[in-house]
Amino acid sequence: MGKTIVEKIFDAHRKDEPFTGTHVLSLDVVMCHEITTPIAIADLVWREKDRVFDKTKIKAVIDHVTPAKDTKSAVQAKIMREWAKRHDLPDFFDVGANGVCHALFPEKGFIRPGYTVIMGDSHTCTHGAFGAFAAGVGTTDLEVGILKGVCAFRQPKTIRVNVNGKLGNRVYAKDVMLHIISLLTVNGATDRVIEFHGSTIDAMDMEERMTLSNMAIEAGGTTGICPPDAVTVEYLWTFVKDQYGTKEAAVADFAKWHSDADAVYERVIEVDATKIVPVATFGFKPDMVKPLSEMGEYKVNQVYIGSCTNGRISDLRAAREVVKGTKLAEGVRGILCPATPKIYRQAMDEGIVADFLDAGYCVTNPTCGACLGMSNGVLAPDEACASTTNRNFNGRMGKGGMVHLMSPASAVAAGIAGHLVDPRA
């Protein structure tokens, strides 16, 4: 019987099976941010076990609320900073070098096909785009990961999603994923891995694949995995060229992390990409999705372009195509938040920042901030935001606020119109 990508990764990392169906895996990367890590650090200190299993495998960043907005967030940052120093962590990113974790860490080349990755963050599934098993965990799993380099998982089941066909004008990976989530529902992939296949996925660059994988968790998925190929090699080339010599050699090696032709899937879903249109969410669950053309005039008070879903350079370029030479509608606030310092600099060099400033946007430093309603763009009650983030839960961007999830082009178009609108219109 053939194996799926994740079954192969489990086989290569299984350190223990204490009980049937419980797989304790050795970890290649343990990622940490300042919201979920400080309590793990405090607990390790309290247990007199303030150690790290391998400092080169721990990647740490202050990203959720940065620079600190108040004393409490400053204390969290301080705990991270001192911990990173104490353990001499080579990969720690603080103010000036920090960015949204799931944009920053791939950019640094920390993720490779076949890796096992955990982080105290549900959107860790993003890194599945590289053909890795990357799963969000809680603080206790993170703590054990930091100390022992292991994490326990149940036997994974995989849902295969085949997406075929060419995407239409102003239809993006975000529209594809929102469409898939609406098919699966928010509970449809719980405890499952989503494996993406098909000509649409093959044609996507790594940034688009990360947008897809990022939102696997919104359907309950443990991770969203894309088979590693020449596109993956191209993205990682500067980091792997010494190891492989030629791109062909890297592609061939990465292929060991492909599912077998006779792998067993729990479910297979077929998606015709040519039928997907620009969509957005209209409620408090990410599976409440409708075509923007049928949405009606939902008024927006704010536009937010950023986050680990859509704050990368290709997102900013797509948004710029729509924003260039326009102005925000009266009464609409626009916020552009490039996800990392590198993206910020690229956006400046390419004149994207200037175009957004001309349109009336505020450009903020890389941070999570508004995405989870902590800083840099929190909504007031009864306000609505056209947002490129991944979560529209009640109160997510501020108590009483409404978040409409959509692609960067659609969000920018909403800012110009003052209400949700089809970006092709």
Binding site: K15, D16, P18, F19, T20, G21, T22, V24, I35, T36, P38, I39, A42, D43, R47, K49, H64, V65, D70, K72, S73, V75, Q76, I79, G120, D121, S122, T124, G136, V137, G138, T139, T140, D141, E143, V144, L147, K148, V150, A152, R154, V186, N187, T190, D191, I217, G220, T222, K285, L372, G373, M374, R391, F393, N394, G395, R396, K399
Partner: protein
Amino acid sequence: MKKFGGPVLFLDRSDINTDEIIPAKYLTEVEKDALKPFLLEDLKLDGFDPKGDALKKAKIVVTRANFGCGSSREHAPWALEVNDITLVIAENYARIFRQNMFNCGMMAIELSKDAIEAIFALKSVAGLECEVDQAKCELHFKQGGKVLQTEKYSLSEFDSALVDAGGWVEFADKRY
């Protein structure tokens, strides 16, 4: 090992997410106890008052499907724990939330849709309590001393081991 059992709080909705269990704005707290007043603060549900007596008294939550979806924040189980709620009963859970519960030595029990429906039928029983017989894996729903309903549950060997050990750190520390 934690203690399980006591008054029941019903949350009659599926897909209750961790932002509703504990809003992100409290995630800058670095002490678990600080979360206590904010449990379920943003949950909008007919008849539910996050400041009400039912929540104050509760030791057990009974809810529908996909409880704890969304963010990985272990602050959600902690917010339950510091309010003395150590057991949740639902059709199913988001993976991370479920693992977080057992990793803290708490229980997230899964029952069939029908069993959950039968328990919800007891919603209006005054003073409803649930007694947990861990040896027999049984939940006894009682009013006064009278057992109104019994449901069997099962835990995987791993989940039971985590409950017995008091959590994943304790388990892993001995073994790895």
